[in-house]
Each structure stands twice: as C-alpha cells, then as structure tokens.
C-alpha cells in the first residue's frame, strides 16, 4: 500500500528553502535559505527557541505549505511545486502527523480516530479493523480502543495520535512539539515509544521541539535560530 522511500534517496530534502509571510506592508521571513537532507530511518529533531522557524520548516517538509523560494522535496519529488492533489496523496499515504494538542476528533473513539487515517487510504473495513487494533496494541492502548479522547489522559491521547500517524505504515512521521502538552514522565514514555518505533520499523521521525529531554536523546539535532540552520549535529548512529 505505502510506497517506501527509495534507498539512497533522502526522504526529506530542502534546497535554499525560504518562507516569507506578508503582514500588511511588512514582509516577515519565517525561515531563510534552509538546505538539509534527511535520510530514510533517521530520527531528527528540529530544535530552537520559539519563533525560530521550527514549525514553519516542519510544515514545508510535511507538504502542508509551499516555500516562497527554493525547493522542498520528498523522496526525490519536488513537493513545493506539485499539485494540491499530489500533496494530499503524499500526506495521506506516505506521511503521518502528530500535533502538540493531539488534534484527535473528539466525537470519535480512539479506535475510530486511528481508523480514519486508514479509511482515507481506501482500506476495506475488515482489514482496517485488524490494522487499527495492531496499531493501538503497538502503542499499548488496545484496551482503551472504545474510549473517546475526553476519557483519555494526555499521554493516552498522544499515543492514539501516534497510532493514527503510524497505522497506514507511512515513510515518515512529522511531529510538531509532541510532548509540549505532557508532563515530563509521560513525555519520556512517548519519546521512548517514538525511538522504539523508529528503530523497530525504520520509520523516519522528524520532530520539532524545544523539549531538552528529546534533544538530549536525539541521534541528530538541527538547531534553528532566526529561521536559519545554526547547527546540524549527529550524535552516534541513528
């Protein structure tokens, strides 16, 4: 179902990517001249203070936004220049998203929230059920499948969000401040889960955060300052 990244071709790549916004007569530069490459199976953290451009870069790499200048590609395809339909298909089939506020659909149960991502890909109901239960099991939440988000703790919600992002077996997970709404203990659990899934499945993780505990354990950290790459540090093998 899901096309994996081609070996040797970077999953994410930016070449001189910039993003500017117009605020009245003023042009605000969110990120400037970003060039980077992220290989399949990497666990990469985009770190930096608030306003450094982490989320903007994440949106560009995740196909949620288009660069004002330069190019952004996914598995070799220029997604900045691709059609809306192609970008929708990319996000649906090859990427998984995790948000700071979990962003679960409140009227759907944990099972249904995860199932929705599979439904989008056109999976038949029977197959959906098996895969959703497997995804919930992977994040340790199969026993909470019928609960709605408002009956789950913050950590459980983020696990459901992770299951939702993983259930269709994406090439990469794009997470924006995934632990910001969690206490330190729960955040550590979620982070451990990310690392385990990254290592076990080889799924690429691209995480924007200013959480020092994530930054401390990340194999590769790209620091942004004022919308530019200040450093790109690799700590041991990913």
């Amino acid at each position: 179902m899901t096309a994996r990244a081609t070996a040797g071709v970077p999953v994410f790549e930016a070449r001189g990517a910039s993003k500017t916004y117009q605020q009245g007569a003023i042009t605000v530069s969110a990120v400037s001249d970003i060039s980077l490459s992220i290989a399949a199976g990497d666990f990469v953290v985009l770190a930096g203070p608030s306003g450094s451009g982490k989320s903007t870069l994440l949106n560009l790499l995740g196909g949620l936004d288009r660069p004002s200048q330069g190019s952004v590609s996914f598995a070799g395809a220029d997604i900045g220049a691709s059609s809306e339909a192609d970008r929708v298909a990319l996000r649906r089939d090859r990427l998984g998203f995790i948000f700071q506020a979990f962003n679960l659909v409140p009227v759907l149960s944990a099972f249904e929230n995860v199932e929705y991502a599979l439904w989008l890909t056109g999976q038949p109901r029977a197959e959906r059920k098996a895969r959703v239960m497997k995804a919930l099991d992977d994040v340790g939440l199969s026993h909470r499948a019928s609960h709605r988000p408002d009956h789950l703790s913050g950590g459980e919600r983020q696990r459901v969000a992770l299951a939702r992002a993983l259930v269709h077996d994406p090439v990469a997970i794009v997470a924006d401040e995934p632990t910001a709404s969690l206490d330190s203990h729960t955040a550590a659990d979620v982070l451990m889960l990310f690392r385990t899934l990254n290592e076990a499945r080889g799924t690429t993780f691209l995480v924007a955060t200013h959480d020092p505990s994530i930054v401390a354990v990340a194999p590769r950290v790209i620091r942004l300052v004022d919308g530019r790459v200040a450093s790109d540090t690799r700590v041991g093998p990913s």
């Binding site: 949106n59 995740g62 949620l64 936004d65 339909a85 929708v88 298909a89 990319l90 996000r91 649906r92 089939d93 990427l95 998203f97 948000f99 962003n103 659909v105 409140p106 009227v107 759907l108 249904e112 199932e115 929705y116 991502a117 439904w119 989008l120 890909t121 939702r164």
Partner: protein, 414 residues
Amino acid sequence: MLAALALRNLFRNRRRTMLSMVVIGVGVVSLLLTLGFIRYSFDGLSDAIIRGGLAHLEVAPASVGDGTGNPIIDRAGSPPAFHGWQAVRDRIESRADVQATSAAVQLAGVLLNGDRSMAFMGAAVEPARQRSMGIAVKLRAGEALPDDAPVAGDDRVLLGVDLARALHVEVGDSIVAMVGTAAGTLNAVDLTVAGIFTTGLQELDARMAQMHLATAQRLMGTDDVTSLLVGLKDRAATETVARAIREDVATITPALTVADWESRAPFYRQVRGLYIGIFVFLGTIIGLLVCLSASNTFQMSVLERVREFGTLLAMGTDRGQLARLVVLEAVWLGVIGGAIGSILAAIIAFTINSIGIQMPPPPAAVDPLTLLVLIKPTDFLYAIVFMVVLLAIATVPPILKILRLQVVEALSHV
C-alpha cells in the same frame, strides 16, 4: 465512516442542533398541515362540484355553448340540441366504469310571482338518475322533485334560497315560468314550489331553479336535451373514461364533445390556483427561514471546527470529502428534524380531524367548513426531502469557506 462522523458531529452542540431541529420541525408541521388542509379543501370542493350537479363527465353537441366553461351559464341561452341522446346514453351506460347517466336541459327565462319577476337559470333533471349518480340537492325547505315525470298541470320547481327570497315565495306557492321555446316563441307554465335549495354558492342561489326534465321539455316544446351527465364509479378514472367515451362517440354526427368536471368548473380552477399560490408563498417563507437559520448553524459549526478541519486536511482528507461531511450533516439534520416534524404533524392532524373544528364559510360559499387535514404518506417523504434540499443549499457558504481553508492557518486557528 463519513456518514457516522457527520451524525455525531450533529450532536456536538446539542442546544444549537435542537434549536435547528425545532425550526425544521415547525417548518415541516406548517407545510404538512397546510398541504393537508388544501388537499381536503380540493377534495371537498371537487366532490361538492361533482355531486352538486356537474357530474364527472358531460356529453353534449359540439356546436352548443360559448366556451365560458360553466355549462349552467354556458348553454342556458341555447335551446336543447342533442338529438338521439337515448341511444348515446345506452352506449355509455353499457360501460362497467359508469355509475349512471342523467339527461339534462339547461334553460333561462323569467319567473313571475304576481308583480314580482326575476330572471333565472334552470337545470331540468331526472331526479332518480341523478340520485343514483350521487348528485344531491341541498334542500333548505320543502321536498325534492318527484322521480316520475309530472303530468301536465302538476309541474313543480325547486328554487335557490335567494331567488325564492327575491320572489317572496315559500314552499307550496305557485309561480309562473316563462322561457323561449325551441321554435323561438315564448311559452309559460304554472309551477308549484316544491322546495328551496342551496347550491353552496351565493351567486347561483340568487339565480338557480331546478325542475323535472319532462317539465322543461314540455315548456320548451322539444324531446331533445342539452347534454348527458355521466357519473363514474371512481373519480380517479375520469380522464381514462373520458378518453374512452370520446373515442366511442367519435363517429356520431353531429359531433359530440366529452368534457370532464374540472374543465367545466372555473370556480374550482380559481380556488385551486389561489390555494396553490398560498401554499407556494408559505413554502417560500418557511424555506427561507429554515435556510437562513440552518446556514447560520452550519457557519458556526464550521467556524468552531477550523482547527479540526486543518488536522483532517493535514492527514490527507481532500476538500471534497470535507464538503461531503458538511452536506451529510445537513442531510442528517434534515432527516431527523423532518421526521420529528412529520410525527408531530401526524399527531396534530389526527387531533384536528378527531375534534372536527368548524370554520366560517369560504368566500362566496354558504355552508360552514369543517376543518380536516388529509395528509398522504408520500407527503411526509416529500417534506423531509424538501428540508434536506433546503439544508443542503444552506451548506454552500460554509463549504465555500472550507474550500478556501489553508491547512497551516487552520492548524493554528484558536
């Protein structure tokens, strides 16, 4: 999955959804009750017209009449010209779908009571045959015309209530009727007032008189009639039978026309047009109210979920799917609100029909009207479909908003 999600979304803000359902329900109740009352009025009026003397069909020489539509007025000035009507009657009455036929003469002249005189329009009938066709005279005083043809000197007449009042006559009084004969001369006959009746319409009550066919033929010096009235077993078959009789009498000369009751009842057509106009007006007002109210509901609902829509878009939901989601919410709202309104309408209609509320007589009518509501099962379906269509239209503004939504902006929406 989208349908289930739409249904659940509907109950996120229960108070707002309930309010919308109340608006839809009240709209459906109003439409169904109005439609039910109008249908009852149409049914009652058409039945009154048919049984009031027009019958389902009329067969008459094509050369008679000036096309005004109402045979009573239309042909009253012309002498009877239907030759050989008995043979035609036999052919028509041999049909299984025909209840009975009655020959009729329409005439016009002057009625005299001493020094008082009034112009009248008369219908000469065969009382027994008319009765078997279900045509009944609404007597206010006296008795109906005798079934048998009266002998000369024992001729009787029924007068419209206002005509009798204008002539200052009562049941049992004698009056003189003066009409033009078939030969073009004047003839007069003494008539005894057997009864006083109402047509249900004030205009006609001031002009109408009714006598036996034999009396009119004697008065006009002819064996011919103006037309044959045909009563059917089933009103719904009127068009079919009319077509069959038309084919059956097509070879007869001089040519005959076969007209159904509706084409001979301009009053019915006017009332029908008026009622349909009222219903369309009411439907438009209700439609606008529901549409505006629902549009506001959907706008609010979409505004509250911008961030969620952003999430769904980020996950790879396309904008068409989001638009379908909103339309499905409208469909659910229309179906549930429409169903609630339909149930309420059925209960109210049943209650109204059980009580039997008396209404004042309609314009130009004499008798009070019992308020009844006739709702067909298909009406409920149409009302629900109408609401669903209205609500689907009301989703256009929020859907346009969704189509313009930017994912990144939506995700940061607070």
